[in-house]
Amino acid sequence: MKALQTNNASNLKIKQHRFVEILLKIFIWVCALLTVSFVVGIIIYILVKGIEGMSWNFISTPAAAYPVENYGILGNIVNTLYLIVITLVIATPIGVGAAIYLTEYAKQGRLTKIIEFTTETLSGIPSIIYGLFGSVFFYSVFKLNYSILAGSLTLAIMILPIIIRTTQESIKTVPIMYREGAMGLGATRWYMIRTVILPCSIEGILTSVILSIGRIVGESAALIFTAGLAYNLPNITGIGDIFKKAMDQGASLTVQLYQYAARGGEEMKYAFSTALVLVIVVLIINVLTKIIARGFKKVK
């Protein structure tokens, strides 16, 4: 009799277990479906809403000054390109240099730990803090007003951790035999870095550059305080003017999107068209990083 009772109890327990198990399984599936539907929903929504205001005119002309008669983001595209180029020109050599120092020169010790801590911390600082810092620092030290250059300098600090870390990881994968081979043939350290390490880790550097472009294109909070809101095209009559543009104000695509969205109403549709352009850029960047990673694997 007693045995039968315990048997019943354990049967009940098994049934309970099974019930809980099915519930948990459903929970997992629901959560995964939610995530996927967020992505799909976001993409479709942007696509549908974005196409409305999209035209060749929209991406090939700059916006006309107030009263607005023409909506166009060419000026913002140019500004974004300026930001990308200047930021990368500043940050890539410094980041790659730092990565080389960390992997090839520094001994595992205090300095490397401190640098690793700082890059970790820098990558955790939100962009709005970078923006606040940039607006004070570059103004008080370099006397830079709102300008593309000030925005680029701010972004350069922001993307430094990405470049250092990604490059460092790829330098670490260069086989130790390569180094020994070069050294054994009598190469000095710098010569070895120049001819062996850098060519071998070029994919890593390229990946870091593309990831940085993604970060720059998506950034907005840091730029509002440093790069300003202008959307005009540079008036280029000579080579000097190309550089002069860097000292002007310039809103990136994201900042322009925010402007459109904040004003609302009719302009909301142009906000979505700008969003569509940005999402396409993000997609291209994601695909590019994949392709590079795949090429990298094949070579190995």
Partner: protein
């Protein structure tokens, strides 16, 4: 960002033993005395150049810290630390600067976003790592990466177009018998929390997925061997074993949520109210962005004061993160 962090973490985990090897090999190597290509002077110069490059990051962090303190501290000492942080009235035109509503909004907003985002994100990562067939992973994983890459302003835009009206409908339902309620039109705490919860998903998913994949196969086999089912194995063996990775994911999610401005600026409202679900609120971040353009004098100083408070929060989060990572390295 999240992808990089996750991948860097994964690579770091693999390569820590490699670096040790590398270091030991380096030690064995004789001092570089071979006469070869290049000369001693360029060697020394390049060494110094690389050293300078690597110190840029340190200098930048120092400068940021110094400038955040030097531009935020004056107003805090003028108002008084207690009144600034605990004062519950924010009226810049009357020069009353109390930011406790913003601090509480940021803290509770982040907690709420984490409470919603972490279960969904964690379960999605379980799905990707343990349940989904490979063909499904191939579709979902890039989708999550795309979610991670979408600029935060776009989240804000979508929030304003989709979540704000929804939230307004809920608000009208909830408060239909309460004539005293000040309607927010959907720009409220509730909407902001939803946007934040979706925004932190990719961070949570990518990092916890890496942690789950890193759990040794033997654990699973042992669990199955003892007669445990798949679900039991996941919840009783794998998730506990991956807990430090999941903790990292949560902390990074907190960091992302508390520092986010552009995604919630259009949906949070514009009043420094105490955080209630259907109040128009100001986060630390949105307060700064909304008022920066037209602020001047003491008002702008106060915004830098807010920036400093936010900076302190972020630094605390970073230190916690570092402790978790250190604990993880030790456990290995």
């Amino acid at each position: 960002m999240a992808i990089i962090k996750a991948s860097a973490e994964a690579i770091a985990a693999n390569s820590s033993s490699e670096t040790e090897k590398l270091a030991s090999v380096k030690k064995q190597k004789p001092k570089n005395t071979i006469i070869g290509v290049g000369n001693g002077l360029t060697e020394k110069i390049m060494h110094i150049v690389f050293l300078i490059c690597s110190s840029v990051a340190i200098i930048a962090l120092l400068l940021i810290t110094i400038y955040m303190i030097s531009s935020g501290a004056p107003i805090i000492s003028k108002v008084g630390l207690k009144d600034f942080i605990f004062g519950d009235k924010w009226a810049p035109t009357k020069e009353i600067f109390g930011i406790s509503p913003m601090i509480l909004t940021s803290v509770f907003g982040t907690i709420a976003a984490i409470l919603i985002g972490v279960p969904i994100g964690l379960m999605t990562s379980v799905f990707l790592a343990e349940i989904a067939p490979k063909s499904v992973v191939k579709v979902v994983q890039p989708a999550v990466e795309l979610l991670a890459g979408i600029p935060s302003v776009i989240y804000g835009l979508l929030g304003a177009m989709i979540i704000k009206p929804l939230s307004y409908k809920i608000e009208m339902l909830v408060f239909k018998d309460n004539p005293e309620h000040i309607y927010t039109g959907g720009a409220n705490m509730f909407s902001a929390v939803i946007v934040l919860a979706i925004m932190i998903l990719p961070t949570i998913i990518n990092i916890s997925r890496t942690a789950i994949i890193a759990v040794p196969e033997e654990y699973r086999e042992a669990s199955y061997g003892l007669g445990a089912t798949h679900i039991q194995t996941i919840f009783k063996v794998i998730l506990p074993a991956a807990k430090s990775g999941i903790a990292t994911a949560v902390v990074l999610g907190v960091g992302r949520a508390i520092g986010e401005a552009m995604a919630i600026i259009l949906v949070a409202g514009n009043m420094a109210n105490m955080p209630e679900a259907f109040n128009s609120v100001k986060f630390l971040t949105t307060g700064v962005v909304q008022e920066f353009a037209y602020s001047s004098g003491v008002h702008r100083e106060a915004l830098f004061g807010i920036g400093l408070v936010l900076f302190v929060f972020i630094m605390i989060i970073n230190i916690v993160l570092n402790l978790i990572l250190k604990g993880k390295a030790k456990a290995k």
